[in-house]
Amino acid sequence: MSVDPVDFLGIDRLLTNEERMIRDTARKFVRDRILPGIEKWFEAGEFPLEIAPEIGELGLLGMHLEGYGCAGTNATSYGLACLELEAGDSGFRSFVSVQGSLVMFPIHAYGSDEQKQQWLPRMAAGEAIGCFGLTEPDRGSDPANMRTTARRDGDDWILNGNKMWITNGSIADVAIVWAQTDEGVRGFLVPKGTKGFTTRDIHRKLSLRASVTSELIFDDARLPGDALLPGVQGMRGPLSCLTEARFGIIFGAMGAARACYECALEYSKTREQFGQPIGAFQLTQEKLVNMLLELNKGSLLALHLGRIKDEGLITPQHVSLGKLNNVREALAIAREARTILGANGITLEYPVIRHSNNLESVLTYEGTSEIHTLILGQAITGLPAFGGNA
């Protein structure tokens, strides 16, 4: 019997032909367009913006939305594409998550017809870039207590405050900004160049280096009345976007893990010490097998969550379970893979340390592992443990 050392359980067979084609297209794109440049981009700390239209042409941006130039795939396909992208680099998956789930999704779900017409087709094509501003310098895990405000002034809105750690911030043509108003938290579409709106990039990151992270600064930024996202009010708005993006991460994390496992497995068969391949040592085999277990379990979990999302039965708590488990295990796989590569494991010549460092961000953003633990803890005990006024 032939063994597939990666898809050991033959999970591939559970995919439809269409899902497999989408996966294959994404995989090919990563191989042809991302892997050849990623070491350079990561080292230089830059995101190659020129690739955005190619990602758009492929249909990756807002792929699970209907109409407006979007491909209209199912959720599972979106997850599979995230998985392949993140097997390339978490920075690219982040780019696609932000564009599709955090910006296009709320415009699609809560925007006016004019907002949809204005932004969605160009964003789907990768011609316009979006960012999502929720986190603030002093409000990370507790965004409900955000300080950014939007105040009515006639028909206009005046926006004040700072958003921090914003992916795509300075390269975005439009920012979705969440702010406190008299009517609770509301979302605003803030185009680049709006007077009183500036950005500042965050440098010296050792993680997600092939991704732009910025601070957004609003100093009496005046917005017309139609900048407001009309369809949603309260924290439900931003949280629903996060649930979408977190769903993609459940798959994505397994992509990064797969890349690390494949690299370590290959290395263990060719690297020799004490006169034999290091893969012949029991200690190495145990590491590889533990990776194999978690990779296959995590992939099955992701696929299961994809199926229930496509049935319309998924809850945010399901998504928390997936994100918590798969990012945690992906990071463990990446770190273990790094040990198998020895000193080579710390260089950019191999993908492992890059994935490992990237996953540190993935562990923190879109809800830290602690926050997802608390969400699940509350779900099963009925007792919130977030503290304060949460």
Partner: protein, 261 residues
């Protein structure tokens, strides 16, 4: 503006076991049942060639395939790249068909689905590697055949190709209708975009049996049998040359000897 004659193009596509997986034998045959299949990567060049001609001249690309019901996946893949419609011939009597039988069946399907200005096939499949199917098909269809095409150019009523040879290439021109077989490298097959993949679901695919083609199981009796299967010769270790400054010249000599340059 001058109105060009649109080209009606047929492209033969085959569903094969994923060549990236280790192949397994089922008796004297390649195991196919239960094995993950793909559109033959060699056929992607044919589909791309058809699409490029269609884009330049207008017209339609029809995919023609023979295989079991799962071969529909390969047809859908080609449709998701941009082909317009598909034909799949499936029949239990076709299990184990050889290259000659395949050509006979494809010829009947092409005759029924046509008329076509151009029929495109890959030079050989990535599973059987027989390499005889395109020529047999051209014979059955009574078409001129332009094989081993490494680049091509369509014009009004004719086609001109560069045909790969051991020494270099021949420039060959033929009136249409004609059949061409394309090599890997004739073009860069496009990605099946996600929109293309979604659109492919709605494109028409005809599924025909032998009876639909007015063929009987006698017409597809296989006269060829595989009598022995041996291991391919191990690849010889390459020659290692230390560069003493003449490395570049040595490489050039080597390539000349191999008639690559």
């Amino acid at each position: 503006m001058e109105r060009k004659k649109a080209l009606n193009i047929a492209v033969c596509v085959k569903h094969i076991p994923d060549p990236n997986l280790p192949g397994e034998l089922d008796g004297q045959r390649l195991k196919r049942a239960g094995v993950q299949g793909v559109l033959d990567p060699g056929d992607e060049f044919g589909v791309e060639a058809g699409l490029q001609l269609k884009e330049a001249h207008g017209g339609e690309v029809t995919l023609i395939s023979m295989g079991p019901a799962v071969a529909l996946e390969a047809v859908r893949r080609g449709l998701s790249m941009g082909a317009d419609k598909g034909v799949l011939v499936s029949d239990d009597a076709l299990a184990g068909a050889d290259a000659l039988t395949t050509a006979r069946v494809l010829a009947a399907a092409i005759a029924k689905a046509g008329p076509f200005d151009l029929v495109i096939a890959g030079v050989e499949s990535t599973d059987g590697y027989t390499g005889t199917m395109p020529s047999s098909l051209a014979e059955f269809l009574g078409l001129p055949q332009l094989t081993f095409v490494k680049s091509l150019e369509g014009a009004e009523g004719s086609i001109r190709v560069n045909r790969q040879t051991v020494e270099g290439y021949h420039v060959v021109e033929s009136p249409l209708p004609a059949l061409i077989s394309v090599t890997a490298g004739v073009n860069e097959p496009r990605y099946a975009s996600f929109k293309g993949i979604m659109a492919a679901k709605k494109k028409p695919v005809e599924q025909w049996s032998l009876a639909d083609l007015e063929l009987s199981s006698d017409d597809v009796t296989v006269n060829q049998s595989v009598t022995n299967i041996g291991k391919a010769e191990e690849r010889q270790a390459g020659e290692v040359v230390e560069d003493d400054g003449s490395g570049a010249a040595r490489i050039a000599d080597f390539l000349k000897e191999a008639k690559v340059i």
